[in-house]
Symmetry: C2
Amino acid sequence: MARVMNFNPGPAALPLTALERARDELIDFRGSGMSIIEHSHRGKEYEAVHDEAIALTRELLSVSDNYHVLFLQGGASQQFAVVPMNLLPSGKSADYILTGGWSEKALEEAKLIGQTRVAASTGENGKYTRIPRKDELKLDPNAAYVHMTSNNTLFGTQWFEFPETGNVPLVADMSSDFMWRKFDVNRFALIYAGAQKNIGPSGIVLVIARKDIVEGGRKDIPKIFRYNTHADNRSLYNTPPTFSIYLVRNVLSWMKEQGGLSAMEKINREKGRLLYEAIDRHADYYRCPVATDSRSLMNVVFRLPTEALEEQFVGEAKKKGMVGLKGHRSVGGIRVSLYNAVSVESVKALTAFMDDFIRSNGAKS
Amino acid sequence: MARVMNFNPGPAALPLTALERARDELIDFRGSGMSIIEHSHRGKEYEAVHDEAIALTRELLSVSDNYHVLFLQGGASQQFAVVPMNLLPSGKSADYILTGGWSEKALEEAKLIGQTRVAASTGENGKYTRIPRKDELKLDPNAAYVHMTSNNTLFGTQWFEFPETGNVPLVADMSSDFMWRKFDVNRFALIYAGAQKNIGPSGIVLVIARKDIVEGGRKDIPKIFRYNTHADNRSLYNTPPTFSIYLVRNVLSWMKEQGGLSAMEKINREKGRLLYEAIDRHADYYRCPVATDSRSLMNVVFRLPTEALEEQFVGEAKKKGMVGLKGHRSVGGIRVSLYNAVSVESVKALTAFMDDFIRSNGAKS
């Protein structure tokens, strides 16, 4: 059938161009007589792809030479443990800013490794509906690092201005808003991001880490978990997930062709504007629980008057070729994920459907 | 160009059928209007693939209900650390049998976690040319486990009979000879295997672990590294590498169609027989350093009279469409990897070339 409008929260929509490129050379990669999946990770064909994926990441984000770009396995969930394993020595404490389920999970893993502290939490009554204000951050000036989650897929909140942490290294889980826009990498000591939202398939996590942080990491942990091991070996210490990195390369290459991150940002802001406007013009029917200044452009969440209407909404949308709209099972409602590969046209189709749905199913009052 | 004869050591040749299936549905998975890569790991389309991959593993190897089958990330290299993290409590020691570079690496990681002991080593003068004899194993009856590497890709040796360890749990890295034949899983407490040799792409590692071993694992390690976490969640605790698991499914499905592991074993034994016969009929020219009873059917290593001739051999073979024959950089020579997807015909072409090469380049004497 025709390609659907895919609003999945991740794994998520990928640019058709990147997929077609993969399909067209899946059996015979550039005349080599084998698939990229069958190439050795030590051969020149794969290494060119690997190096291009790293170079495109550096170029798109203007990553300075002061940082390593690593492609690792295990997803962001593994980084929840690997960050404190590397960066939290005994005798020090790490600060965690809680803005949702993912930051809670990151904290839980860190607690098993060392001393931690909650520097701020907006989890009032178990719901996270906003990003903390500057004056709410109670930072420990001696912390080993401050950990934050820059976007919250479950609750639909997003940081638009990053916190000031002075000399304390800032670590961010950017899985769900990595590379939707340009940002100043130099504000961070370490960034990690599962690829399966904005830039590729699941099974690969990008780490951008300042060189002094990597070199100063703990040496009493297994070699495979030291950032330094992977930095020293250009992420080829052990066999990398070659096809996943190849796909990330295809997506980054498409992003560059589209005009890079400034073009991505323009499109992503337009998509968010269209969708929040549709919500707000029917604010008595589509209720977005998120504080206006914390509303995520990546994951837009809202409720309908009843759960029955929400179910009907998801079902009718699916018939019109719009899928992936069901909210996370822990929070319910509707969630619309608007990652890079989701087009403005798809969002326009969705907002038109939202208008229609009210006409057919009555305003709340 | 036409598909080459791919003797790569891993990532390695995959069955064309499995790749074509992936290509044909890469843009539109079973009429869903999106790629399997874009499907949610919580959706019914992906979950069916996931469950089928697990079921096929169970079926092909006759894995009993007493074992978990897990699909994890990080490759065998990560398991080098994760095995002792789970299974080596303080106050206990683990036995390692050294038969090559990979078992040495496994031991090095374990040393960072707990007490270890070398139960046997065939690494005389830095070369491992054989599997230890039964009487050489000095096992600790109180060991937390015994670790072995069932096939050694660098040195071309392979275990054909597994050691008796009594009540001590036997743990095996089977990355390079997993599922080339049927074997008795019940002999092992835990097996791990990177997929990129016999059954799929890189970026996915299979773990088959006895339930009591999983449940008795240490709880003071990060949750993401506990086997129990993944067993409790059918390997869906965090986002799995969905496309990699899909590809493993395609390969296992092909293996089943071929007649399962007994058919695989027959073909693999035939390939090994053909190649070792070719070596042995020119034993003064092609020198296999491996003890006869330890010769691997997965990775066949041999030397030519000079390094210059080895280079010429690799170059001429490549012109005839045979690639991946260069030995590992740490040992040199020729290495021929004969994983499941390598056909008998490819091996016949190689042995014919070996005969020809001698005719053109003279016997040693």
